[in-house]
């Protein structure tokens, strides 16, 4: 079975974000980019599935040459091959999903993993969009997964609990933290990844249906007051919560 994992290359969560000169994007200067954290769970689950049922794990990514860094990391973790769908310009979720769906069809993958969201635009929709375009089944925000004979039993996180979902292949699964513990790339894996070629081709053209017209910083909150340094401040805190904030 061919298993695809769709990976994005995003600013590290510890990065300070400042707005670029165009006022529509971030200023990437001095920002470290990493594999999207949720995609690491997706890669790990694909590798585990391959170890259990056999098959081939193929990494897909839409973006510029910079994405190769994250693709290499996925290869070093143990993925078999990778395709970079090149596009240097900004794409919205729908245009990313369109290009991914074309390539998934092209390689004939039956099982596709995504991170549940990219920590840049935080849309959390590309997996479901891709599934719907392909006519695949889909379970999002998965924290537990079991695949047997093409039957899928997945648990997805919801408010205050989990839903147990049954479906079947072909399917898209979007991974939530807690699904597994992503492995570290071994030295052997890192060396092997250097020898693997990343196939490059232009991402299929899809029109953006949305447009970011402005990006700005949120309003900065004024720091409040430090009302004490020990237990003697407790009555004042309770009074403020009750009378000023009116929240208790």
């Amino acid at each position: 079975m061919k298993i695809a994992v769709c990976v994005s290359h995003v600013p590290d969560t510890a990065a300070k974000i400042s707005i670029g000169p165009d006022g529509k994007n971030i200023d990437p200067d001095g920002v470290t980019f990493v594999v999207n954290p949720y995609d690491e769970f997706a890669i790990e689950e694909a590798l585990k599935t391959r170890e259990k049922s056999g098959g081939e794990v193929i990494i897909l990514s839409v973006g510029s040459d910079a994405n190769k860094e994250s693709i290499r990391k996925a290869l070093a973790m143990g993925a078999d091959s990778a395709v970079l769908l090149k596009d240097d310009s900004w794409r919205d979720s729908v245009a990313v999903a369109g290009a991914l769906a074309d390539e998934i069809k092209n390689i004939g993958a039956e099982l596709v993993f995504f991170g549940k969201q990219s920590v840049d635009y935080d849309n959390s929709i590309v997996g479901q969009l891709t599934a719907e375009i392909l006519g695949f089944n889909c379970v999002s925000v998965v924290v537990s997964l079991d695949i047997n004979d093409g039957k899928i039993r997945a648990e997805r996180e919801i408010e205050g609990g989990k839903e147990v979902v049954e479906t079947s292949l072909p399917a898209v699964i979007t991974a939530q933290k807690g699904l597994n513990e992503p492995r570290y790339a071994s030295l052997k894996g890192i060396m092997a990844a250097k020898k693997k070629t990343i196939e490059e081709k232009p991402a299929a053209t899809y029109e953006n249906l949305s447009e970011v017209t402005e990006m700005k910083r949120p309003q900065v909150k004024q720091p409040g007051k430090i009302i004490g340094t020990d237990a003697s401040a407790v009555p004042e805190l309770v009074r403020l919560l009750k009378e000023e904030a009116k929240v208790i």
């Binding site: 510890a14 935080d122 925000v141 408010e159 807690g178 407790v234």
Partner: protein, 323 residues
């Protein structure tokens, strides 16, 4: 005929969620700003109190009823909403940005050929055009988004748009048979976390971090949370250390929250934590280090030892509650 805004009402266990009432109010407002008409649709088996959405500004609800639809099915629900939206000629579909809403919205967008914007926190109308504001980078920045096609699907962040007090109008409820169901994905069971409030839905949250020194001390967080009816949250550091479950994590790789009250105990305020809770209305920080970044965004702070401060705080609040 006026153009339509279609609002999707989410139910759990046969009751309309509070977040869904916020969607009703929002949908009614957007419709009036754009000179459109708003209607609502919901899916489930028996659902209580549907007519009350009339009090929040929408006077017609269509209920697709079937006992097999009591629990969520991504395929069946998205097909029903999409078919109904097409039949109605709806231009804007509004959904709550909940676990269910986030799952279903992109599928409806593809099925109806709509553009999509999720997690909307504000909007403005310029002439006949509507521009949405949504956070990116976990709230470190905000974007203004224009959706080009006429057909749009949007999800709105819970607890940002207030449903307000209900009026006295009641809505007409039309019950329909759902026809043939596409049950390719089906929820067969719901596992509830035992009696706990979820941080994503709570209007008060008490979160603990490394400053609590070990998982055995989180009973202090739980006691404080219980006395004010708050959910328990946690920083990434303590989730990664295995002290608390990931479902409690607040921040960039956890949940983004905006409660009325957020109490951070022993949390220094790493950038990814602050990103996830900065939009809370009132923030209280209790931390030993007076230079911790959390104090930069806290309304009230106590720069002291959590182990000294929490016990009297808990008993003071208990006393207040009992009186």
């Amino acid at each position: 005929m006026a153009k339509k805004v279609l609002v999707f009402l989410e139910q759990r266990n046969g009751s309309i969620k509070n977040a869904a009432l916020q969607v009703v109010k929002f949908g009614a407002e957007v419709a009036s700003a754009l000179g459109m008409e708003a209607e609502a649709v919901t899916i489930g088996n028996n659902i209580d109190g549907l007519s009350k959405v009339g009090g929040f500004g929408i006077n017609k609800v269509t209920h697709y009823k079937n006992e097999l639809l009591e629990n969520y099915s991504s395929s069946a629900y998205s097909k029903i909403v999409s078919d109904f939206a097409n039949e109605l000629g709806a231009e804007i579909i509004v959904i709550s940005n909940t676990a269910l809403g986030k799952d279903i919205a992109p599928r409806i967008a593809v099925k109806t050929g709509s553009a999509i914007a999720v997690d909307v926190v504000d909007y403005k109308v310029e002439g006949s055009e509507i521009i949405f504001t949504r956070p990116v980078y976990a709230g470190k920045a905000l974007t203004a988004v224009k959706l080009k096609p006429e057909k749009k699907v949007i999800t709105i962040r819970p607890n940002v748009f207030n449903a307000g007090e209900p009026g006295s109008d009641s809505a007409e409820v039309v019950t329909k048979e759902a026809g043939e169901l596409d049950l390719r994905e089906k929820v067969i069971e719901i596992k509830k976390s035992e009696g706990k409030l979820d941080v994503a839905e709570a209007d008060k949250i008490v979160s603990g971090g490394r400053g609590l020194k070990g998982p055995e001390n989180f009973h202090l967080i739980e006691e404080l949370a219980d006395v004010i009816g708050a959910a328990h949250g946690a920083s990434r550091a303590v989730v990664d250390a295995g002290w608390r479950p990931h479902s409690e994590q607040v921040g960039q790789t956890g949940k983004t929250v905006s409660p009325n009250l957020y109490i951070a105990v022993g949390i220094s305020g790493a950038i990814q934590h602050i990103a996830g809770m900065r939009s809370s209305k009132f923030i209280v920080a209790i931390n030993k280090d007076k230079d911790a970044p959390i104090f930069q965004i806290a309304d009230y702070g106590i720069a002291g030892d959590a182990f000294e401060i929490l016990p009297p705080l808990i008993s003071e609040l208990k006393r207040l509650k009992e009186n």
